[in-house]
């Protein structure tokens, strides 16, 4: 007979990042800044990066949103820190969800915006560099 296991809505990793989010805060005069989401929809993320020689040396975030919004923000900062900006640009929503051992299906779209916020910050950095 198939065993029915109690499946928590969120994985242990999600709860860990929700409980102890990494890299919370803001960077004054950041090299790149990204903002995605909308409080009306229940999620808003701000991402700040400090870049040296195209490498993300420091990254901070602030997030308004549900458990997965906070956990994905925290996770993406861990994934991006120390990476070259072009490499970091390739981090996808799926990568973030996979690193967190998955997200509930209904959260994959609405609250999994952290990769978008990171990409927005990197784009901002590249735009500033061109000028």
């Amino acid at each position: 007979m198939m065993e029915v296991k109690k499946m928590p809505v969120y994985s242990k990793k999600v709860m860990d990042h929700f409980t102890n989010p990494r890299n919370v805060g803001v960077i004054e005069n950041p090299d790149g800044y990204g903002k995605v989401g909308n409080p009306v929809c229940g999620d808003l993320m701000e991402m700040y990066i400090r870049v040296e020689n195209d490498v993300i040396k420091d990254i901070k975030f602030k997030t308004f949103g549900c458990g997965s919004a906070i956990a994905t923000s925290s996770m993406v900062t861990e994934l991006a820190k120390g990476k070259n900006v072009d490499e970091a640009m390739k981090i996808t929503r799926n990568d973030v969800a996979n690193e967190l051992d998955g997200l509930p299906p209904q959260k994959m779209h609405c609250s999994n915006l952290a990769a978008d916020a990171l990409q927005a910050a990197i784009k901002d950095y590249k735009n500033k560099k061109k000028k």
Binding site: Y10, P39, V40, D43, K62, G65, I70
Partner: protein, 383 residues
């Protein structure tokens, strides 16, 4: 860690006295429709339970109450059963903007099938707008549904006044009393209620039973044809032990209503006065016309599912009307109806008290809320 359960509106523990009461019925065979002796025992059990429900709401007689499997089923029978039966008199239905989804959805379904469905707006406290109600009513309005008290914001509706208005123009008033029954006195005769929904679990009874009061003379038809149980309005072999438990639960709730409501009101008021001291925190629902066990809030700049998860880390279970914790990903229709913006509705927290709660828990709860709000605001870009 002590667990403090504050989500009695979602689910209630079954009263141990009721577990003992229903134990003998769990193992007994006996279909109430069978003529032999123990079939008739089961029938007597159900009739005994029916009397206790009649007593809780001061109904006219035993024939006015039918048992169902849930409040959702009662709401469906009330709304669809009367609308379909009285189709010659009109094809209009009406409900308040804060009614339960199991009232709203049957009405929406009727609308798809050609009925006119209108929504009665409420004020910022969630009280039904009586002048709008009057305007929306017509001689074609078969059912008007207004809940006795709301499960998300605790507001108690002026049912007697609503009944007077409904009966001037329309036909029947249905009242969903799931959240209110057993907590505040309900008198279907004095208040002029035609149909009233009750749920067993919301009275500390077992899940799997509900009831519908039907005033003598109200015409409705079956929406689920079958063996003709419960006056032909709810076919299907009766869930004898759940019904027995619901009856006993109603009896205990009635006997203990005054004492327990007074006790919970004090805890509720303390929670409200302490939690609204937090910066940018607000009470939702009516400050005085509210259920004795109900305290609901919203906090600016933070989101409800995060509040729920964070409170759970303190061993405290609360509810939220945030979109992020709902299946539809829409914020609570109740919070939107009372005029909150979406971003405000996202930051809601609902506490519903019960027998396991006491005044000693209040400082722990308040501290947990305070720390939760602080932590989530530190994370929020909106502060």
């Amino acid at each position: 860690m002590e667990r403090i359960y504050l989500d009695h509106a979602a689910s209630m523990p079954v009263d141990p006295r009721i577990i003992n009461f229903i134990k003998p019925y769990l193992s007994k065979a006996g279909n109430p429709s069978s003529l032999y002796d123990f079939g008739q025992d089961a029938k007597m059990t159900i009739e005994g339970a029916r009397k206790k429900i009649v007593d809780l709401i001061n109904a006219e007689n035993d024939k006015t109450v039918i048992f169902t499997a849930s409040a959702t089923e009662s709401n469906n029978i009330a709304i669809r059963g009367t609308s379909l039966r009285n189709i010659k008199d009109g094809k209009e239905v009406l409900c308040s903007a804060i009614d339960h989804i199991s009232v709203i959805n049957p009405m929406k379904d009727l609308q798809k099938n050609g009925w006119i469905y209108n929504i009665i707006p409420v004020d910022n406290y969630g009280v039904v707008d009586l002048s709008k109600l009057e305007k929306l009513l017509s001689k074609n309005t078969i059912v008007t549904s207004v809940m006795y008290a709301n499960n998300e914001i605790g507001t108690i509706e002026p049912i007697k006044k609503i009944s007077e208005i409904v009966h001037e123009k329309g036909k029947y008033l249905h009242v969903d009393a799931t959240a209110a029954a057993g907590r505040i006195p309900i008198d279907v005769q004095k208040e002029g209620i035609d149909l009233l929904t009750l749920s067993s679990n919301d009275l500390y009874g077992p899940r799997g039973a509900g009831a519908l009061y039907i005033k003598p003379g109200v015409k409705l038809q079956s929406i689920m044809p079958g063996g003709g149980q419960e006056r032909g309005l709810r076919s299907g072999t009766e869930n004898v032990y759940a019904i027995a438990g619901m009856g006993e639960a109603a009896k205990i709730m009635k006997n203990e209503m005054k004492t327990e409501s007074d006790r919970l009101t004090k805890i509720r008021d303390k929670l409200i006065s302490e939690i609204t001291k937090i910066d940018k925190s607000y009470l939702t629902g009516h400050p005085t016309q509210r259920l004795p066990h109900h305290a609901s809030f919203r906090f600016s700049h933070i989101e409800g599912e995060s509040i729920l998860l964070n409170m759970d880390m303190y061993g405290i279970q609360i509810a939220t009307g945030s979109a992020c914790s709902s299946k539809t990903l829409e914020p609570s229709h109740v919070l939107i109806a009372v005029g909150l913006k979406h971003e405000e509705a996202h930051g809601s927290m609902v506490m519903t008290l019960g027998r396991s709660n006491n005044m000693e828990q209040v400082p722990k709860i308040v501290k947990a809320v305070d720390e939760t709000v602080k932590r989530l605001r530190e994370l929020s870009p909106l502060t």
